[in-house]
Assembly symmetry: C2
Homo-oligomer: 302 residues x 2
């Protein structure tokens, strides 16, 4: 309910501010059909059809904005009547909450990958230092050698784990900021359509409950037609949201089931020193590691 603009509204507003020739600013466009009077004043001969229709659309947009703003304010102050779908609102609320929580997991996973990458970096440097000291310290050679080997093994496995972490991050990022965001865009369009629908419903009810005279008959018909149009749009978007939420829920469970399994298996394998299981996990999830010194994986290795 926070953001009221729909993309349709945005588009109309854009046309209103950039394309419509208003008097005084549309000289060059009007010059073809208009002319200069003897005393130098500009007198338009006739208005083009396109300009007329644009002015009409601005008028309509203004009325629409006025009605929806009035409805929005009435709802805010608890006066207006509001169409409520409790089940759908709960689903939407739950989706927004899930997105927030997954974004937090994503933030932590990114921090983890970054800190862990620093650890691997330090392990590589430590491995090199131990190796150098092993050569120069005969009396402590054995100790430096086994420490060097441990650090090098950790670096090798650490890079594989980083590959798994980055795959997890990329997948959760797509789910959180592309798939969920797409559904939330439809939700915002639906929420805007609901507000418009309620605005025209209230308008129609007001006209309907007024005196029935010949003069108001046209207005009643117009109001009824607009109410029907907005109801149709509202119901179409309501259907869209229902379908998207359903598919999103299925998709979310599928993606997260896979990613949480990968995250757990890769981390468990790495932190139990099981290099075979770690590599098997990456193969299982089809994760290709970026080799630092190769553009493409060699065909011999694959």
């Amino acid at each position: 309910m926070e953001k009221m603009k729909t993309t349709d509204l945005e588009q109309l507003r854009h046309e209103a501010t950039s394309n419509v020739p208003l008097s005084g600013s549309g000289n060059s466009a009007s010059n073809a059909s208009g002319g200069n009077s003897p005393n130098g004043d500009f007198v338009p001969k006739s208005m083009s059809l396109s300009a007329q229709s644009k002015i009409e659309s601005i008028r309509e947009w203004s009325v629409n904005t006025f009605k929806t703003t009035k409805q929005f304010i009435s709802e805010r102050f608890g006066k207006g009547s509001r169409t409520v779908d409790l089940e759908m609102e709960a689903s939407i609320e739950s989706l927004r909450d899930t997105q927030k929580k997954y974004a937090n997991i994503l933030r932590l996973a990114r921090a983890m990958a970054s800190h862990f990458s620093n650890v691997v970096h330090t392990q590589r440097a430590l491995g090199e230092s131990f190796s150098e000291l092993a050569q120069k310290s005969p009396e402590l050679q054995e100790e430096f050698v086994y420490n060097c080997e441990t650090q090098r093994t950790l670096v090798k496995n650490g890079e594989i784990l980083l590959g798994a972490l980055n795959f997890f991050i990329s997948s959760v990022n797509t789910l959180c900021h592309k798939t969920m965001e797409d559904s939330l865009l439809t939700v915002r369009q639906y929420e805007s359509a609901r507000l418009e629908y309620d605005a025209y419903r209230v308008d129609f009810e007001t006209v309907q409950s007024g005196p029935r005279e010949a003069a108001t008959q046209a207005r009643l018909q117009d109001s009824q037609k607009k109410f029907a149009d907005h109801k149709q749009k509202f119901e179409r978007l309501r259907g869209d949201v229902q379908i998207k939420l359903k598919f999103l829920e299925e998709n979310k469970v599928k993606v997260m089931h896979k990613q949480l399994l990968l995250f757990h298996n890769a981390i468990s394998a790495y932190f139990s020193g099981n290099a075979t299981a770690l590599e098997a996990t990456l193969k299982q999830f089809n994760i290709q590691l970026k080799r630092p010194n190769a553009e493409k994986p060699s065909w011999i290795e694959s």
Copy 2:
């Protein structure tokens, strides 16, 4: 050879600039034995013995500084003769190199502890997030639960590993910046004494090779005495350095053997997920962990 000042020289210089009353700046000290003449001029009656001996020591220090600086410059330009103990110089060079390399290991171990601490911190936050999501996501409860448990186990063991890393850092720091530094201080004193010894040796040789007259006999004796004094000091410090280097070598091997074993065993145990071995390693090396939420370990736990 870069730093020429010994602590003895430093002390003499300090006394020269702060304690010795020079004429014109020692008024208040001299007022007791001196007085004002009728025309207002300050006339010192007599010089105190202490002031005399201090002036003598400044004179001696100046001569000493002049001789050693001359010797230092001669050596730098490859002209003067220089007493060389190849074996000891190699040992000193090796100690300086080892200190530099251990300081590098220390720097890397500190970086490792810092990055690893960040990893543990993120693991704790991830564990909490997974736990929260496990409660709110019935359809993914199992996946969130096992991830939460893995992160919590890693945090627990990570804190133990951090204890081992910090013990390693503290021990190597003591070896590198206290034990080795103490030996290097003696080395610097020895190097300074060697320069002085060579300066007085050259001085004595010059006087000795000069004409033997009654007038120069006193100078020869004085030069011989000073040469003998500096020779004694040089040989005493040479012995000190030999003993310190020997003990340092033994101490270094003992400390590093223990620390490198600890470092390896703790890291191997942690990264193979062997919590029992990790705790056994800490017990073996008598490492007490700081408990974050307790001032003292409870007597029940011990």
